[in-house]
Point group: C2
Chain length 287, copies 2
DNA sequence: GTAATAGTGTCTATAAGACAGTATTTG
DNA sequence: CAAATACTGTCTTATAGACACTATTAC
């Protein structure tokens, strides 16, 4: 190590302020199900850099005043309009990872601590103070390897691009570039979500307090982009201890297209699923 | 949101420097096997705060000059004496998570991006510039719920506490408090390591280029603190595609206490294990 | 020789998936 | 009534673990 660097380090041990500053932000990959398809919360940036581009919601951590998780919950609340009282408590929020390449923000070195959130269907997003717009965007339209007929998500009138990046009605809009390195963060978040529901009961975080097994299966199908066998899924879920517990009730209606009224369940007390629900068809893509 | 805070945010969108600074550090939970037992690299702090206490190796990220992973690799190299040339390349290094409670460092708000490293048996550690000492410390002596006879690690002459926190020869020293929140980071790192070797082939990162199945089993036994069935483990490892591949060679000697010469293997090309090697006995501790 | 180990065979319990079948509801 | 769905039964295959057995090496 060069002598100058050693001197730097020595000083820093006594006063970290001797270093050039690095800004710390939190970003949130917030996922929800709308119209049977997986959606992510995005904001349109109202200021440079990347003004006008879509980005993950996030912002600077308030030094000395909040932890990383608190900052992420605050940013999420600002964009969703939720507060702790009316449902933020039902949202699952976990840390995803930190992103700190020096050139990832043109202004200065910014380290972003990304978080991942699973939310039940929420009302339309509303822009926070520094965003021009906020919206739930269909993940299928954002992913490069999008396969339009995988899992057959119902055509959604809701999830269209609000405004920008045109494409008249009926046209599939071109997936936009996300600001900064947010495309990579989103990809990591989707990876994490897809594997996390394998071995934890967090798929239930996408649903209301009470749900049917079919609704739970719809979560897995939307997140994984795969069709699951209804009968085997049903038995499997009920056989994993602590995954779900019966409420004793039944749904008030059958399905839209017929069928008996399904029984209702709530999330159980397990934190990990034993045995896990493994994704189908991953053997060869993995090596 | 209060008007003053909105104003803060508006300005920050244009100039992040308007915020109070947060320092960014990296810390490394570096694990290795010595004398058949899991060890972690610790340093004795040579400067306040927590001067004289043991801590994870780490330091400040150099603003604008390195990514988080590069900073972690640099800090690890400084304490282990390795450089990219002579073996740092064989060390597995991944991000563990970030820790940012405002009060975790008494000097100022410091966000630490913790990393996790798996290393083959390395030479004795040597203190970096700002540490009074560095040493590989037996993990068993650091964990609260330590069970002295679990997995029967051989009594190690090497892993004793060098100096501090006395305890004469033959006495088990009291586990010391780690500086900052490093005890929690270490616990998270051990959790991650224990689950990561279930579904990835990273246990091989603790071994040399060539190894026997028994050496690989010793890694699992040391990390999990459990005894595994030799015969079933052997067959299981060979049955997972891409986990290990034969080199064609055999060990030059049998085991210390007899037995045939074992065949040699190297790490295969799989990145995930299918099916995974599940830890025994976790059903009820998990809920 | 004795003891420990490497590697393999076999049996059982469990789990996953394919498939079928019954009862219930919508339209 | 026709069609879709909720849920259960059954069969086949893959896997995990218990146990046993042989061959090989150290001392």
């Amino acid at each position: 190590m060069a002598p100058q660097q050693e001197e730097d380090r020595f000083l820093a041990a006594y006063d970290p302020r001797a270093f050039d500053p690095i800004a710390v932000t939190v970003d949130v990959v917030a996922l929800t199900l709308r119209e049977g398809a997986l959606h992510v919360l995005l904001v349109r940036r109202g200021a440079p850099p990347f003004e006008g581009a879509w980005a993950l919601p996030g912002g600077f951590v308030r030094a000395g005043r909040e932890s990383l998780g608190e900052a992420a919950a605050r940013e999420l609340a600002e964009e969703t309009g939720l507060d702790a009282a009316d449902g933020l408590g039902r949202v699952h929020l976990e840390q995803l990872g930190s992103y700190g390449r020096p050139e990832r923000d043109p202004r200065m070195h910014v380290v972003s601590v990304a978080h991942l959130a699973f939310a039940p269907d929420l009302p339309d997003a509303k822009a926070g103070s520094d965003a021009a717009a906020a919206a739930w965007i269909s993940v299928a339209e954002l992913e490069p390897g999008w396969q339009p007929d995988a899992a057959d998500p119902r055509p959604n009138e809701q999830g269209r691009w609000p405004g920008a990046h045109g494409g008249g009605p009926g046209h599939r809009p071109v997936a936009p570039e996300l600001a900064f390195d947010h495309a990579g963060i989103l990809a990591d978040g989707l990876d994490r979500a897809r594997s996390k529901i394998e071995y934890t009961p967090l798929a239930t975080a996408f649903l209301g307090e009470e749900f049917t097994i079919s609704e739970l299966r719809a979560v897995y199908e939307a997140v994984w982009g795969a069709t699951l066998h209804a009968g085997n899924f049903h038995r499997k879920v009920l056989s994993v201890p602590g995954f779900v517990e019966s409420t004793g009730g039944t749904a008030t209606h059958g399905s839209v297209r017929g069928g008996p009224r399904a029984r209702l369940y709530r999330a159980g007390d397990a934190r990990l699923l034993h045995p896990a629900l493994l994704r189908p068809d991953r053997e060869e893509t993995v090596r």
